[in-house]
């Protein structure tokens, strides 16, 4: 075990800014990217459903 206490762990031997700046940016991006990717898919699905509904409506109008 490297750390005597939690505060020692967070201090990172005086390199806290650099170490946590790296891990923080990494964690942030790796949370945001999957959210954006999932959002893109749900947007595509919404768009698709809208298009299909529009097609059906126009078909309903033409068929007596």
């Amino acid at each position: 075990m490297n750390w005597g206490s939690a505060s020692e762990f967070f201090a990172m031997g005086g390199h806290a800014l650099y170490v946590w700046g790296s891990y923080g940016a990494c964690a942030l991006l790796m949370v945001v990217e999957p959210i954006l990717a999932r959002k893109r898919r749900s947007q595509a699905l919404t768009e698709l459903k809208r298009e299909i509904r529009a097609n059906q409506d126009s078909q309903d109008e033409t068929t007596p």
């Binding site: 490297n2 031997g13 390199h15 790296s22 790796m30 990217e33 898919r41 595509a44 298009e51 299909i52």
Partner: protein, 261 residues
């Protein structure tokens, strides 16, 4: 836009002659990817937790760099993945260019943002590591500069593709850019050997034993696996969105459970 189904119908024999090409059909790949994604997330989490545990609690303090060296556990995996994803992206792009398979182009498009993220993380963590160790956030050194070019290649690929409306033409243009850019990968990799550089040499090499403590090496490898699994999971998620966007006029899309309901 959207008239993508034509090739498959006219040259459909391509996909039937060799069964392997069956997976190259978006209709088969879309549900398959959906089933694989949770597994890759699970693996990413597993390797990530193990890697962070080893990296912070098992690997010893570095004799020269103190605790600051622990940036290595994300810096090296991000750098590796930024290069590896580029090679995979160029591979799919080349396959799409050569065989006109629709899915290859979508895979290449899907990988680019993840590759850009890895290149950015490599540069960002490198800057945060360089400041305390070299006294500078950035130096115009061969390794750093070629990695920056890699980042710009990803951005250029994304920008070029989004500037072209027809997805098939966007695939072709992107593929040419991706293939020309491949030359940068060996330059990044060997830059520390070819030029005098501030950046340290390879931490892991195939020809000699690693120049670091065993536990440090394990932490790095576990994190690299976690990043790898993450990259697969997120790019599969994105490729499913791209398939829906591009294949929306195909019959199979309308029959999907998530579309029909």
């Amino acid at each position: 836009m959207g008239n993508n189904g034509g090739f498959e119908n006219r040259f459909g024999m391509n996909t039937r002659l060799i069964n392997w090409f069956g997976y190259a059909s978006p209709a088969t790949f879309y549900p398959l990817a959906g089933k694989m994604i949770p597994w890759f997330w699970a693996l990413a989490a597993l390797f990530g937790i193990a890697g962070l545990y080893v990296g912070f609690f098992v690997a010893p303090t570095d004799a020269q760099q103190g605790e600051g060296y622990r940036i290595i556990f994300i810096h090296v995996p991000a750098s590796w993945m930024s290069m590896f994803i580029y090679l995979v992206m160029a591979f799919w792009a080349a396959l799409g260019l050569g065989f006109n398979t629709r899915l290859s182009g979508m895979m290449a498009t899907s990988l680019a943002p993840t590759g850009a993220l890895m290149a950015f993380l490599s540069l960002w963590t490198g800057a945060l590591w360089g400041k305390p160790m070299w006294g500078a956030w950035w130096v115009w050194d061969a390794r750093l500069t070629s990695e920056l070019i890699l980042f710009f290649l990803y951005i250029g690929f994304i920008a070029l593709q989004s500037a072209i409306d027809d997805p098939r033409r966007a695939d072709k243009a992107g593929a040419v850019l991706a293939l020309v850019g491949v030359v940068n990968i060996p330059i990044i990799y060997f830059s520390v050997k070819w030029w005098n550089t501030l950046h340290q040499g390879a931490s892991v090499s195939l020809t000699r034993s690693p120049s670091m403590a065993q536990t440090m090496l394990w932490g790095m490898l576990l994190m690299a696996l976690a990043f790898w699994m993450y990259a697969i999971a997120v790019s599969l998620t994105r490729v499913r969105a791209i398939i829906l966007e591009r294949e929306r006029h195909a019959g199979w899309v309308e029959e999907l459970e998530e579309v029909a309901t």
